[in-house]
Amino acid sequence: MSDTHAESIAFVRESSLPPAAPPDKVGGPLKWVKDNLFPTWANALLTVVALYFLYLLLAGSLPWLLNGVWGASSLSECREVLDGATGACFSVLTERWHQLLFGFKYPSDQYWRPTLALVLLFLAVAPVLFIDLPRKMLLFTGIYPFLAFWLIWGGPIWGPLFALVGVVVGYMVYARLVHNSFAKALAAGLLAAIAVWYVGGFIGDALRPASPLLEAVPSRDLGGFMLNMMLGITCVSLSLPIGIALALGRQSHLPIVKGICVVFIEFVRGVPLITLLFVANVMLAYFFPPGSGVDLFIRVVIMITMFSSAYIAEVIRGGLAALPKGQYEAADSLGLDYAQAMRLIILPQALKISIPGIVNIAVGLFKDTTLVSVISLFDIIGMIRGPILASTDWNGVYWELFLFASVLFFIVCYGISQYSQWLERRLATDHR
């Protein structure tokens, strides 16, 4: 072995060099800019146009947004503070905050009640939205509708309490009999619940306290964004079961049942919501027993629920149709009857497929609750167009108010659609 070789060994590096950064032309931010903003001449032109458009948008809105006044008490005071400069008058939001959120008639010392109901709402929907949460939380979800009703409307506690007891008794009867026959269990549960409600009505009347724990608020005093939320949540949750029933009816082989469902769905989907609200406003009262005086809120809930249940039925029908025929045949070959096959095999899968569609309907419906302002209910749009813009203090403050309403709706609707995308990924059981 020669010495030269030993010498050359001494120069061998024991660890590899870290890789050098690629030259700017093939990597790094410059490369990204070139690839994504200026790949071709036409594209570069498009980028420049888009940048100019962005500049116009920001130059127009930023001074107005950043220079906003938050502390004035009327538009004229706002203009004094601004002294000719461009700026928004956001003080209308702080000044009329409660009106925008709760309407102008809700008793102001009771605002904590709807606020508490909203906070509890998050607690109640959490186990429905996130399947990983403990299932025991669903108990609270079951109680929530009655609790929220009592919190928002107030009055004696007996009404919502007995309604809850009726539901619990009905469910217990149903749960005891369901192993025997679904139809019989359903009928027995319904009868038991109705019996409890009937008896509870008498007990509630007898126990009516002189002054209830929570002051009663009539439903014509509800308003603001609270009204939009209430209508949206109530109508979507009521229309889900009705929509499922309608979808099953439309798929059914019984011609009369199918006919009823088809006519109902096609009729409701063929007319705009606003005509249905007209029905609620001027026509529906004629169809109730004389002297019953069902109030406008309930009539509106009935019509919007009809509206959304028809749309949800169509979405679920799509889900039912998308299921492979083998699933129906497999359920039949296991010897399940119609109710069992639907409850255990078909509906869980069909509903999963329909989730994006149902969420789309829910978002659309929530946006459509603003239409009630046309029939003079004071939801957030009704409040803006009515009491706030008509007042001498704030006559002419359009943009701030519309911006506020838009932001509220955007947050809720965008949030829901993002959740639905997350849920779709979460529920995806097919192997990709």
Partner: protein, 404 residues
């Protein structure tokens, strides 16, 4: 344990109505029918009792009575002495007008935004995503109000156009944007203008004929005729020649400030513009999503196969991608058109006299005929919706994948 669905023949027992699949469907249908009839009877008797108590009846006589109110934008003759029926017709035509206009512009917005969302330009892609998300997640009612406010509160009054150094000036000297609406030049038809219009219509037919001929020639002999330039020439040259031969019979009537307001030209009221623009930009966001989904639904292999056959990119788009994408795009597009028609009923918010505002609004309030008006209103929308659905079914059947 097995369920025997066809038990051996035995005599009929009443309990079999519930337990036997042969009779159970009849039982259920009878129950459903009975429930339906009970509900109808109950609601009907309530209605009759309520109407009797209020001293009302159901009658459509009011349609023949004078309406007694004015409508500012009408396409057919109408005065306050016209009948309620005529007012309803004005409303129907206004509904169809705004829906038609909004359908066209919404399609344009939607196609542009949908294609740009797939652009490889990052900034444009994000901007379009922002447009779609913002417009889809805010109620159309708010958009109508915002655009109506821009039209009425942010536009100059006609008086701002007056004087030697006016605060506002007309765009290109012929378009005036005021808070009372937009004034555009209108055509004035002189003698002989009919011939020019007829020539133009004939040219349009001629273009289609030429294209058919070119396609036929291509398929028969493989010879490729130029498309674009001949089409443009056939479309424009005869009409322009005829126009000058006849001594320019069609002129333009420019709007001009006279007194307190603009006179001449065509006035498009602020409510119509607000409704039109809001509906198109809102629905455009939905159409953009449909267009994007439709283009993405065509698998890459199709484009690559077409490229491998040697087609140029324009041809690939026209002959391979678009025909397949349209099959996915058109059905939701048509239901978006249906949504535009139904959402146009929000015209009542901005005072545009569509059918909801005339028949369901003023006529209803003045005559107090709530049931009749609302029923007629629903009937109108139902007819439109069912008509559009029928068109959609015909299209779906025509473009259905013919599987062998």
């Amino acid at each position: 344990m097995t369920t025997i669905s066809d038990p051996p023949q035995e005599s009929f027992r009443p309990s079999m109505l519930l337990s036997d699949t042969r009779y159970r469907s009849i039982t259920f249908q009878v129950i459903a029918l009975a429930l339906l009839l009970t509900a109808i009877w109950y609601l009907g008797s309530n209605l009759a009792a309520n109407l009797r108590a209020a001293g009302l009846n159901i009658s459509f006589q009011f349609l023949g009575n004078p309406a007694g109110y004015d409508i500012n934008q009408t396409l057919i003759p109408y005065t306050s002495q016209s009948t309620n029926l005529q007012a309803a017709w004005v409303g129907i035509i206004n509904t169809l007008l705004v829906s038609f206009l909004a359908c066209i512009t919404a399609t344009i917005f939607g196609v542009i935004a949908g294609v740009l969302r797939l652009s490889n330009n990052w900034l444009v892609r994000k901007l379009m995503a922002g447009y779609v998300e913002i417009f889809r997640n805010i109620p159309v009612l708010i958009w109508i109000l915002i655009i109506y406010t821009i039209m009425t509160a942010a536009m100059p009054a006609p008086s701002a156009f007056r004087g030697d150094d006016p605060a506002s000036s007309m765009m290109l000297g012929s378009f005036a944007f005021t808070n009372r609406g937009v004034y555009i030049p209108g055509p004035v038809m002189g003698p002989g203008s009919f011939i020019v219009v007829a020539t133009f219509v004939a040219s349009v037919i001629g273009v289609f004929a030429y294209r058919r001929y070119a396609t036929k020639l291509l398929y028969d002999t493989g010879r490729l005729l130029p498309m674009l330039w001949p089409s443009v020439a056939i479309l424009l040259v005869p009409t322009i020649v005829m126009f000058f031969i006849l001594g320019m019979p069609i002129g333009l009537d420019y709007p001009a400030l006279k007194g307190f307001n603009f006179q001449g030209g065509i006035q498009i009221g602020a409510p119509l513009i607000a409704l039109w623009f809001a509906l198109s930009i809102y629905t455009g966001a939905f159409i953009a999503e449909n267009v994007r989904a439709g283009i993405q639904a065509v698998s890459r292999g199709q484009t690559e196969a077409a490229a491998a056959l040697g087609l140029r990119s324009g041809r690939i788009m026209n002959l391979v991608v678009l025909p397949q994408a349209l099959r996915v795009i058109i059905p939701p597009l048509i239901s978006n058109y249906l949504n535009i028609t139904k959402n146009s009923s929000l015209a009542i918010l901005v005072g545009y006299a569509d059918i909801t505002a005339t028949l369901g609004g003023i006529t209803l309030n003045q005559t107090g005929r709530a049931i009749e008006c609302v029923v007629l209103l629903m009937l109108f929308y139902l007819v439109i919706s069912l008509g559009i659905s029928m068109v959609m079914n015909v299209y779906n059947n025509a473009t259905k994948l013919k599987e062998r």
